[in-house]
Amino acid sequence: MLYTDKVLDHFTNPRNVGELEDADGIGEVGNAKCGDIMKMYIKVKDGIITDVRFKTFGCGAAVATSSIATELIVGKSIDDALKLSNKAVVEALDGLPPSKVHCSVLAEQAIKSAVTDYYTRQGIDPIPIVGEVGDCDACHH
């Protein structure tokens, strides 16, 4: 199992780790059985994600994908954040071992989950915008 330096860096020094007391949206995906839980907090102003934090239970790749995902969406519009694919997450980390690609899917889902929560709180039906937020396929035990 080979992690890239980028993965190890994001694991060792995760960016934006923690909680946001006054979050506008909180998403959580994954489950303990599968070994990964990601919780994402976002702060939104004028359709822009102004702040983001995460908490993750999981392997090195789970932590690193959470960390890089927060970096990739902070300062972006919600629309852009929703466009973030797991592929982009993998690329930003210079790759992931095949058995860990599911973590990048989880990161993508965590963002969607937080946005869903944000819209719900705003009284907007998230489904037409975000779609159904699932877990990654690998986790469907």
Partner: protein, 394 residues
């Protein structure tokens, strides 16, 4: 705190000892002859091969003719189980008994045989990681070809009642194989007193190099060949003999089976300090029986965090450890051993194994004990699962 390098993953593999390496070196480019060759260099290789066989035999208290060298522990396990099954299937014996927490070298072999029409009964273990003897007794049938139960588990280090199992097998006239890869050097083994028919071992777990193992085959038991080829190993295992590694294995077997009681006492003392120290961290539990346990094994589950993260953090501090079997990392599921103990998935995911050796020092243990709470705290702080556990406690 100064960063140190501490190798605490001796159950995964070990450092080749100086004595072993020195014994091996001449065979690479000085005494490199083929042991089947007639000239002096070949005859010397053959002689040294047989000396090594004698050493391995002595370490197990058997006849050198009962020792066959293989390329690893896995090959020895495959040969033993497939060999017995191939031999006994024509007599209608198509049932195998093994345990739920064997190494994959045994489990996947049994599964392969299942696909070929054999039936396999998997004996459970109790919550301390010890095989259920009554279940074993009840599982034996008229058509049972072989019982394969490991001597000591690689993840949780629990030592099994091999002598009792051998007695049960003898009573029922069933062949008994034990995977002793983890037990060698930590337990005194006399195959004759034990009454096992087959026993597998591996070099790289006992400070010999990777790529060599051995299978003890009790005299009188004839197995079909597994690797067909030349007349090596008295016609039983083809392939040019790996003399450097075999010589290394002989030296290692001599080393690790000498002075076992004293070494076990010393290592156990350190290991207990390690266990007790880590268990001071709240929400942790020791996996596997505390007494019937390999002296070097410390396997602990830590709630709210995940094993691989712990390992990566330990690595940052220069500590090599493992979570579940090293062989199965890269898989998504928590190890089958952890689950077979009855642990929930989340607790199974959060296990960490330290396997120390007699080279481990008290300072090493102190260092691990200093580092572990920091790592646990840091990971728990960022764990949404830990959050829930704490909330649930109120």
């Amino acid at each position: 705190m100064e960063k140190r390098f501490i190798y605490a993953d001796n159950a995964a593999t070990t450092k080749v000892s100086d004595a072993v390496l020195n014994a091996m070196l001449p065979y690479f480019n000085e005494q490199y002859g083929n042991a089947s060759s007639i000239y002096g260099m070949g005859r010397n290789a053959k002689r040294d091969l047989e000396v090594s066989r004698e050493k391995v035999a002595k370490a197990l208290s058997c006849d050198p003719k009962e020792i066959y060298f293989t390329s690893c522990g896995s090959e020895a396990d495959n040969w033993a189980i497939k060999g017995v099954c191939e031999r006994l299937a024509p007599r209608g014996k198509k049932h195998i008994i093994t345990s739920v927490f064997e190494h994959h070298a045994v489990l996947h072999t049994c599964e392969a045989l299942e696909r070929q029409g054999f039936e396999v009964t998997y004996i459970s273990i109790d919550e301390n990681g010890i095989i259920n003897l009554d279940e074993l007794k009840n599982a034996i049938r008229e058509d049972t070809a072989i019982v394969s139960i490991m001597y000591a588990n690689n993840e949780i280090g629990t030592i099994q009642p091999i002598k009792e199992i051998a007695e049960i097998c003898q009573e029922h006239d069933v062949i008994f194989h034990t995977d002793a890869v983890q037990a060698i050097g930590s337990v005194e083994i006399n195959v004759k007193e034990l009454g096992v028919d087959l026993l597998a071992l591996s070099g790289h777990k006992i400070h010999a190099p990777k790529g060599v193992g051995a299978l003890y085959i009790r005299k009188g038991l004839v197995l079909p060949n597994f690797i067909h080829g030349g007349a090596q190993e008295r016609n039983k295992r083809g392939g040019t003999e790996n003399i450097p590694a075999i010589v290394g294995l002989g030296v290692a077997m001599e080393e690790v089976t000498t002075g076992i009681p004293q070494r076990v006492e010393n290592v156990t003392k350190l290991r207990n300090k390690l266990i007790d120290g880590i268990l001071e961290i709240p929400h942790t539990r020791l996996n596997g029986d505390r007494e019937k346990r390999l002296c070097g094994n410390c396997n602990i589950s830590i709630e709210g965090i995940e094993g691989e993260s712990i390992l990566l953090m330990l690595d940052m501090y220069g500590i090599c450890a493992s979570s579940g079997s090293a062989c199965t990392s890269g898989s998504l599921d928590p190890s089958h051993v952890m689950l077979s103990l009855g642990l929930s998935h989340e607790i199974a995911h959060g296990s960490v194994r330290f396997s120390i050796s007699d080279e481990t020092t008290e300072q090493d243990i102190d260092y691990i004990l200093e580092v572990m709470p920091k790592i646990v705290n840091r990971l728990r702080e960022m764990s949404p699962l830990w959050e829930k556990i704490i909330e649930a406690e109120g």
